[in-house]
Amino acid sequence: MRTLIRSGGPVLSRRSLAAGAAAGTLLAASGLSADRARAADPLKVGFVYVGPVGDYGWSYQHDQGRLALEADLGDAISTTYVESVPEGADAERVVAQLASGGHGLIFATSFGFMNATLKVAKSFPDVVFEHCTGYKRADNVATYAARFYEGRYVIGVIAGLMTKTNVIGYVGAVPIPEVVRGINAFTQGLRSVNPEATVKVIWVNSWYDPGKEREAAETLVAQGADVLSQHTDSPAPVQVAAEKGLYAFGQATDMSAFGPEAHLTAIVDDWRGYYIERTRAVLDGTWTSGDTWGGLASGMVAISDYNTALPDTVVAAAEAARTGIETGTLHPLAGPLTDQAGTERVAEGEAPDDGALLSMDWFVEGVQGQAPR
């Protein structure tokens, strides 16, 4: 699709360039590509965040991606973000305002923005949209997400080798397929090395409430968990593990600063590469719609530095799992998969396809706690 026009709608006003950007650098930057030279303006890239940038989790990591994009592409682009956008009626207005304000590329970074993005995209065929974690696409709407479950399998392996009580605590945000898939992959990794171990899940019904995350983590510890994993944004569960002398895994960012002894590793969301690649594609005119579901191999999901206290054998097992997943020899949710009731859901030698993964709403055997809904 080469129908990219830099100023799609009436441009209200141009985002003022930083004071330091002298006319000379501007010229130099516009000479980067022949395509850019014709357009006097840099490409405006908009980001819509569901939380505050200061959540130190989901939105924070997307903003890290935005900053990396600015650093990489310099004056060829300018970026804008709107944070704490509610997923109700406001989302459509914000996306539309970005589109009509001359943004050529807009990243909508929460599932709840899906229908709003689709609606706006229809009215702005010349603007390119990227929606994170959704499943609806259009000619000018691509989707992207990360296979966090691959990383969760790896930390499951570590948990299985580090637990002594064979009870792992898992703080979940809300029971959506993404979280359920992660719990299942974690459990499969866990039980691949330690079939006795089980996972206890507590839902806090919030993505981001340090106090509640702490309370859930403390409860899990009181119920015998000696390794904590989380699918919520704050480092509170890592802090609980650190206080009690137990282990935990970071989520979204490397949280080792909040519990250097306890933090075994973290699954890091790394959107930098994707944002740079897709923006470059728009600049080059090679952007096409599609679905990207990147995992460990693409770098979209990263395993942060291992805790130096981890025994070499554990690191080796984790690295083996990671290499297996990266090279495709190991599928984190390969059959045989049985659910909590003992019914076989995926037969041996098979693996769920992306549709089944996307909509997963049942727990594998080995998970205790309420199945979603």
Binding site: P10, L12, S13, R15, S16, G46, P52, V53, T80, Y81, V82, E83, S84, P86, E87, G88, A89, D90, E92, R93, V94, A96, Q97, L98, S100, G101, F111, G112, N115, Y135, V174, P175, I176, P177, N205, G355, L358, S359, M360, D361, P372, R373
Partner: protein, 380 residues
């Protein structure tokens, strides 16, 4: 503890009560507030390294310069005005419903439930009866949720502030339960949202090409209705009497319980309608977050509008503008949400504080020595 020894006003500017409230000031105070806002905004934005005039323009004027901005202003103001109008009925009677948010959610659940049912039960997704039906359901849903604090207050004396607030959280979890479970879209990969409503369940647009829908007219109708009820009817008078002096209301034969019920049901009904308007208007489905706190913001709107329906209409539009302006500041100037929240708070402070001039004038003299005038305790 020697509280008695304290003297606050030694000299300088001093507030002196007016004998009567100043009609002129009723209309001038917003200008005073605007002046203060411009001054404070200039300092704030200049300190952040931005051209203050441009920032103020972006916040207050830019959203109003396009059809898109204007239509969005009305879309945003509609639920605020609906909730605030209903709340004002209760607030006038000293009924402290602060759970409009929950009542809005219940309205959305009831109306959305009907829309989802019709979408499955009828091949054409329901006929022209569906929207009126959803309106009724929305109002009933909000009323049902507000009836709980009303019942607990009148029967068991339980304070409605707590009950209505706690029920707001319960409503949120109820909505979460429904869209995560029984009501989630069967084709939606188990994500927590319902199916999209059919066309018959969507409010028609007022201006094509915009999101402005006929729900905005509901808000206007609610304002008109509340004006008649509060300013022109005997019921409105009763509410006011009970609100000002419950005992006097009792002597006059006005029932406090009736005012509690009326206040809560009006607030609940209109908040429920607001919920219906949101899901049948800009959202078009049920999902976990259908209101970014309209029910709470509406409390500010109600008081900013001095509990007067027309005042609420203006206050609702103004409040909506501060949200749109906040987004525009982020987009145009790259200011974080923190700054827009700061500024929004400041604007509200100025508006609320400048009201003092309606009842008082500023004097620049020492207080007279013969100060012993009878005190006057008044309600807000």
């Amino acid at each position: 503890m020697r509280i008695r020894g304290m003297r606050f006003r030694v000299g300088g500017p001093r507030l002196e009560a007016r004998a009567e409230r100043s009609r002129a000031m009723v209309y001038l105070t917003p200008l005073v507030a605007a002046g203060l806002t411009v001054m404070a905004g200039a300092v704030l934005f200049a300190a952040l390294g931005h051209d203050p005039l441009r920032a103020l323009y972006v916040f207050f004027v830019a959203p109003l310069t396009t059809t898109f901005g204007l239509s969005e202003l009305f879309v945003k103001a509609t639920p605020l005005v609906l909730c605030a109008t209903g709340l004002a009925v209760g607030f006038r009677g000293n009924v402290w419903n602060i759970g409009a948010e929950g009542q809005l959610i219940l309205g959305a659940i009831f109306a959305g439930g009907l829309a989802l049912w019709a979408g499955e039960a009828f091949t054409d997704g329901g006929g022209p009866w569906l929207l009126p039906g959803m309106m009724v359901m929305g109002i009933l849903g909000g009323m049902a949720w507000a009836a709980i604090p009303a019942l607990l207050r009148t029967r068991f004396n339980a304070n409605e502030i707590l009950v209505s607030l706690m029920l707001t959280y319960v409503a949120g979890f109820l909505l979460g339960y429904l869209v995560h479970g029984p009501w989630r879209d069967p084709m939606g990969f188990n994500f927590p949202e319902s199916a999209l409503f059919g066309d018959a369940a969507l409010l028609p647009a007022l201006v094509s090409g915009t999101r402005l829908h006929i729900g905005a007219l509901f808000a206007l109708a609610a304002v008109a209705g509340a004006w008649v009820l509060l300013m022109r009817s005997f019921i409105g008078f009763q509410i006011k009497v009970v609100g000002l002096a419950p005992r006097a209301g009792g002597y006059a034969g006005f029932s406090g319980a009736r005012v509690v019920w009326l206040g809560l049901l009006c607030g609940g009904g209109l908040s429920g309608l607001a919920g219906m308007v949101e899901v049948a208007g800009p959202i078009g489905q049920l999902h976990t977050q259908i209101s970014p706190g309209y029910g709470f913001t509406a409390i500010i709107v109600a008081f900013l509008g001095r509990l007067h329906p027309l005042g609420i209409l203006l206050a609702g539009l103004f409040m909506a503008l501060t949200y749109l302006g906040g987004d525009t500041l982020q987009i145009e100037l790259g200011l974080p949400r923190a700054v827009t929240g700061l500024f929004q708070g400041m604007v509200l402070f100025f508006l609320l504080a400048s009201d003092v001039l309606i009842h008082h004038r500023v004097r620049w003299s020492r207080p007279p020595v013969t100060a012993s005038v009878a005190p006057r305790g008044e309600t807000a």
